[in-house]
C-alpha cells in the first residue's frame, strides 16, 4: 500500500510500556504510557502471493481436469488414476516433503489450500491426495530414518500413492486396542492381522501400518512400519460400498505372515502410538480444509440456485427464510476457514516436533498436551501442545459446519437437490464422512478437553 500509516511509522516504546505495566498498581498511576504508541498490527489475514497463485492453479486444475466426469465417477465408483498422475505432475502429492526427496517443501497452510480447492470440486479426489500427503508422507518425513526416506519418498512424490493402516474392525476411536501383531524374525518383521476402512487400499504403493510389538500392551506396545504394496503376505479386500466419497477407494488390508525388512520399522521400536497421534494431530488440518472446500461449494451452489429459482413471483434469494440460511452458511464458512488456517500455521510451526517429545515422556500423545487451562484458548499464546488442540478444534468445527451447510444448501435446492445427479446431492453424501474419519467429532472433543484440563 502506498499510504503511509502514521501508526506504523512510530517506533514502539516497548520498554517504557513494559516498565509501566510492571508497576501497574494502582493502574491510574501508570498513566497513559502503559498502553499508548503500540506498533502496527502483526496480525495479517492475507495469503502470500505464492499461496494465492497456488489456489488459482489448483482451482483451475480441479475445474478443468477433475470436474468433467465427477458425477459419473461417483456413480460408478471408478478410481481416477489418470487424475492422480496429473496431481503428481503438479506437485500435489508430497507437497510437504522436502525438495531433497522430490517434494514441494510447502508449508501446511499451502497444503491446506490445495486440499480445500480439490474438495470444492471432488472431495473423493481430495481425500486420495490428503491421505498420501499427510498420513503417509508426513510421518515418514518426520519419523523415518534417512535410508527409508530415500527409498520411499521419491516414489511417493512422483505419483505413487500412500495409505495409513491404523483402524481395525475392533479398534476405531481406541487405536491403543489394536490387535495386528508384528514379530521379529531374524532381519525381518512379520505382520499378522487385519486393517479396516483403509483409504487408497489397493492403489497405494506404500502403507504406514501400526501393529502390536509388545503383547503385554501398554502405551509403548505399538510400533509403526512402512509396508510396500508388493510385500509377500499382504492382501487387499474388496472395495467397500460407502455413502459418499465413492471415487476414493476404501478397503481392508489382510496381513498373513506378511514379511518386511528390518529397516521398514518407522521411528523407534514402541513409538507407534505416539507416531499415530502426532500424525493425526497434523492430518486433521487437511480434513478441516476438505470440509471448508465442500462448505464453500455448498454455499456457491445455494447462492446461484437461490438467485435463479423463482417462487411466489420473486427469486427465492429475496425470501428471508433463504437469506438466513445463506448468511449462516457464509458466517460459519468464514469461521471454519480461519480455524483451519490457524491450525495449519500452528502445524507448520513444529507442532509434531514438540508433541512427539512430550509424548515420548508421557507415553500417550493425546494426554501429553502442554496447554494449561483457560489461557490456552487465547490463540495469541504460544504453548506446547497447542497445535494438536487447534487442529482438533478446526476439524471439529469445520466438519460439523460443513455438514450443516450441505444440509441447508440441499434444503434450498428442494426436490432438485435431492436428485442423484445434482452436485449438492453428492456433496451432501460426501461431507458426512468428515465428522468421522481421522477422529470422529467425539474424539476431537476428547482431545480438546484433555488439552484444556491438562493445566
Amino acid at each position: 500500500m502506498a499510504e503511509l500509516s502514521p501508526r506504523t511509522a512510530q517506533p514502539p516504546e516497548l520498554r517504557q510500556a513494559a516498565a509501566a505495566a510492571a508497576e501497574l498498581t494502582p493502574v491510574a498511576a501508570a498513566g497513559r504510557a502503559g498502553v499508548e504508541r503500540q506498533a502496527g498490527s502483526g496480525i495479517d489475514f492475507s495469503l502470500s502471493g505464492e499461496q494465492e497463485l497456488l489456489r488459482e492453479q489448483v482451482r483451475r486444475f480441479a475445474e478443468e481436469r477433475i470436474r468433467p466426469g465427477v458425477q459419473e465417477r461417483d456413480r460408478t465408483h471408478r478410481f481416477p488414476q489418470e487424475i492422480v498422475a496429473e496431481m503428481a505432475e503438479l506437485g500435489l502429492l508430497g507437497m510437504m516433503v522436502p525438495e531433497e526427496y522430490g517434494g514441494s517443501g510447502a508449508d501446511v497452510l499451502t497444503y491446506a489450500i490445495a486440499v480445500e480447492e480439490l474438495a470444492r470440486v471432488c472431495p473423493a479426489t481430495a481425500v486420495t491426495m490428503s491421505v498420501t500427503n499427510s498420513v503417509c508422507c508426513w510421518p515418514i518425513v518426520r519419523f523415518g530414518a534417512a535410508r527409508l526416506k530415500q527409498r520411499v519418498l521419491p516414489e511417493l512424490t512422483r505419483g505413487a500413492l500412500g495409505a495409513f493402516g491404523l483402524t481395525e474392525p475392533g479398534s476405531g476411536s481406541d487405536p491403543g486396542s489394536l490387535r495386528t501383531t508384528a514379530r521379529r524374525e531374524r532381519s525381518s518383521w512379520v505382520l499378522d492381522g487385519e486393517k479396516a476402512w483403509i483409504t487408497n487400499a489397493g492403489f497405494a504403493r506404500w502403507y504406514v501400518v501400526f501393529a502390536r510389538t509388545d503383547p503385554r500392551g501398554g502405551k509403548r506396545g505399538l510400533s509403526a512400519f512402512v509396508v510396500p504394496a508388493d510385500a509377500p503376505g499382504l492382501a487387499i479386500g474388496q472395495p467397500e460400498e460407502k455413502l459418499g466419497v465413492k471415487a476414493s477407494r476404501t478397503a481392508a488390508l489382510y496381513f498373513n505372515g506378511c514379511r518386511i525388512p528390518d529397516e521398514n520399522l518407522l521411528g523407534a521400536f514402541g513409538q507407534g502410538l505416539q507416531i499415530a497421534f502426532a500424525t493425526l494431530d497434523h492430518s486433521r488440518v487437511g480434513i478441516a480444509a476438505q470440509a471448508v472446500g465442500i462448505h464453500q461449494r455448498a454455499l456457491e451452489l445455494a447462492v446461484a440456485y437461490a438467485r435463479d429459482r423463482v417462487q411466489f413471483g420473486v427469486p427465492i434469494a429475496q425470501h428471508q427464510a433463504i437469506q438466513w440460511k445463506l448468511a449462516e452458511m457464509a458466517t460459519e464458512l468464514a469461521a471454519a476457514r480461519l480455524l483451519a488456517y490457524r491450525a495449519a500455521i500452528a502445524a507448520t510451526e513444529g507442532g509434531g516436533e514438540e508433541r512427539s517429545e512430550l509424548a515420548g515422556a508421557a507415553g500417550e500423545a493425546e494426554e501429553a498436551a502442554g496447554a494449561a487451562g483457560a489461557a490456552a484458548t487465547h490463540p495469541g499464546s504460544r504453548r506446547r501442545g497447542d497445535p494438536g488442540r487447534l487442529a482438533a478444534e478446526a476439524k471439529l468445527f469445520a466438519s460439523e459446519a460443513a455438514n450443516r451447510a450441505c444440509y441447508a444448501s440441499l434444503q434450498i435446492h428442494g426436490g432438485n437437490g435431492f436428485h442423484d445427479d445434482h452436485e449438492i446431492s453428492r456433496l451432501y453424501r460426501d461431507v458426512r464422512v468428515t465428522t468421522i474419519y481421522e477422529g470422529t467429532s467425539e474424539v476431537q472433543r476428547l482431545v480438546i478437553a484433555r488439552h484444556l484440563l491438562a493445566g
Binding site: 510500556a17 493502574v27 504508541r37 503500540q38 502483526g42 496480525i43 454455499l299
Partner: protein, 381 residues
C-alpha cells in the same frame, strides 16, 4: 498469514487485563445490582488510553490499531460487560465518526476530550418507532438561520444518564427518508436537552441506558457532523465499527464464563469424581473453547479488514453475529456446568448469562446482521 499477536499486542492485553482484574472486576457485581453508572472506571480508562484507542494522539487518543481495540474491549468485558459497552460506545460510535467526518475544529473541540476520557459520549440513533429501521426516525432538525432546532425522543441510549455529549441523528426532511438524516454533536448541557432515569435491564445493568429528549434544542450549524443528509451513512459506518466492539465484548463475556466453568468443573465432585472427569462436561468445554476461538478469529479478522482501509461491513456483521450467539451458548453452558449454584448470585455466571443476551440485540440484532450478510453474499459476491 499471521494470526499470532505481536509482543506489543500481548503487552497491551496483559496491561488491560491487570487493570480489569484489579480495578474493574471488584465492582462488577455491585454495579450490576445497584445500577450505579461506573463513572470512575471511565475516568481511569481514559488515563490508560482506553477511551479513544484508535484515535490519533494529536486528538487525545492512544493511536493504536483496530486489533488493539478488540483486545481492550475483550479484556474489560471479561471483567465487566457493562464497562465494556460503555467503552465500546465511546470509542466506536462517538469517537470514530467524529474522527472520520469531523472538521478540524470539531475534532479539536469535541473529539479530543472524548478520546482522552475527559468527556463521555453516547450515540443517539434509536427511537421508540425506529430500531432495526433507523431510517424511520422522527426526531427533526429544522434549520433556522445559522442554527438547527432539534425536537424528538431517543430511547435505549447507552450511557445516556451520564453522557457529556450525544451524537444525535435527526431528519431535516422526513419526506427524504434516510437521505434526510443528519448527524449533530450535542453537548448534554445544551438548553432543551434532557435525559431520563436509569432503567433496570436484564443485563449490562449499569450502562446508564435511558431516554433522551430534545425540546426546541438549538445548536449552532457548526455542530452538524458531515453534510445534511449524510447522517445515515455516518451512522451505518459507525455501526460497522461498533459491531467489532460488540463482537469483542461478547468474546470477553464468554471467555470469563468459560474460565469459571472450567475451574468449577475441576473442583466440583459428584458421584465421587470431578465434573471434568465426565465426558458430558468435557464435551461442553471442548465446544465452548472451539466456538470462542472461532469468534475471536472472526473479530480479529474484521478488525484487520478495517485496518486495511477497505469496506468491512461483511466481516463486522459476521463477527458480531457469530460472537454474540456464541456468547449466548457459552454462558448458557457455563451456567449449566455450575448447576444450581450457577443460578444463584453467589457465582458470576448468572451475570454473564444475562449480560451476553444483549449482544444479540444492540448495534443491530442478529436478524439485521443476517440481512446484511445475505445482501453481501447474494448481491455483491
Amino acid at each position: 498469514m499471521e494470526i499470532e499477536l505481536t509482543a506489543e499486542h500481548r503487552l497491551l492485553r496483559d496491561t488491560v487485563r491487570r487493570f480489569a482484574d484489579e480495578v474493574v472486576r471488584p465492582r462488577a457485581k455491585e454495579i450490576d445490582q445497584t445500577g450505579e453508572f461506573p463513572r470512575a472506571f471511565f475516568d481511569q480508562a481514559g488515563k490508560l488510553g482506553l477511551t479513544g484507542v484508535t484515535v490519533p494522539e494529536e486528538y487525545g487518543g492512544a493511536g493504536m490499531d483496530a486489533v488493539s481495540y478488540c483486545l481492550v474491549i475483550e479484556e474489560v468485558s471479561r471483567a465487566c460487560a457493562t464497562s465494556g459497552v460503555i467503552l465500546s460506545v465511546n470509542n466506536s460510535l462517538v469517537c470514530e465518526p467524529l474522527l472520520a467526518h469531523g472538521t478540524e475544529a470539531q475534532k479539536r473541540e469535541f473529539l479530543t476530550p472524548l478520546a482522552a476520557g475527559a468527556k463521555l459520549g453516547c450515540f443517539a440513533l434509536t427511537e421508540p418507532g425506529a430500531g432495526s429501521d433507523p431510517a424511520a426516525l422522527r426526531t427533526t432538525a429544522r434549520r433556522d438561520a445559522d442554527q438547527y432546532v432539534l425536537n424528538g425522543n431517543k430511547v435505549f441510549i447507552t450511557s445516556g444518564t451520564d453522557a457529556d455529549l450525544a451524537l444525535v441523528f435527526a431528519t431535516v426532511d422526513p419526506a427524504r427518508k434516510h437521505r434526510g438524516i443528519t448527524a449533530f454533536i450535542v453537548p448534554a448541557g445544551t438548553p432543551g436537552y434532557s435525559h431520563g432515569q436509569h432503567e433496570f435491564k436484564l443485563g449490562v445493568n449499569a450502562s446508564g441506558t435511558t431516554e433522551l429528549a430534545f425540546t426546541d434544542l438549538r445548536l449552532p450549524a457548526g455542530q452538524r457532523l458531515g453534510e445534511e443528509g449524510e447522517g445515515f451513512k455516518i451512522a451505518m459506518a459507525a455501526l460497522d465499527c461498533g459491531r467489532i466492539g460488540i463482537a469483542a465484548q461478547a468474546v470477553g463475556i464468554a471467555q470469563a464464563a468459560f474460565e469459571e466453568a472450567l475451574a468449577y468443573s475441576q473442583q466440583r465432585e459428584q458421584f465421587g469424581r470431578h465434573l471434568s472427569d465426565f465426558q458430558a462436561i468435557q464435551f461442553y468445554l471442548a465446544d465452548m473453547a472451539t466456538e470462542l476461538d472461532a469468534a475471536r478469529l472472526l473479530t480479529w479478522k474484521a478488525a484487520w479488514a478495517k485496518e486495511q482501509g477497505k469496506r468491512y461491513t461483511l466481516e463486522a456483521a459476521q463477527a458480531k453475529l457469530f460472537a454474540s450467539e456464541m456468547a449466548q451458548r457459552v454462558t448458557n453452558k457455563a451456567l449449566q456446568i455450575h448447576g444450581g449454584y450457577g443460578y444463584t448470585r453467589e457465582y458470576n455466571v448468572e451475570r454473564y448469562f444475562r449480560d451476553a443476551r444483549i449482544t444479540e440485540i444492540y448495534e443491530g440484532t442478529s436478524e439485521i446482521q443476517k440481512m446484511v450478510i445475505a445482501d453481501w453474499v447474494v448481491n455483491r459476491a
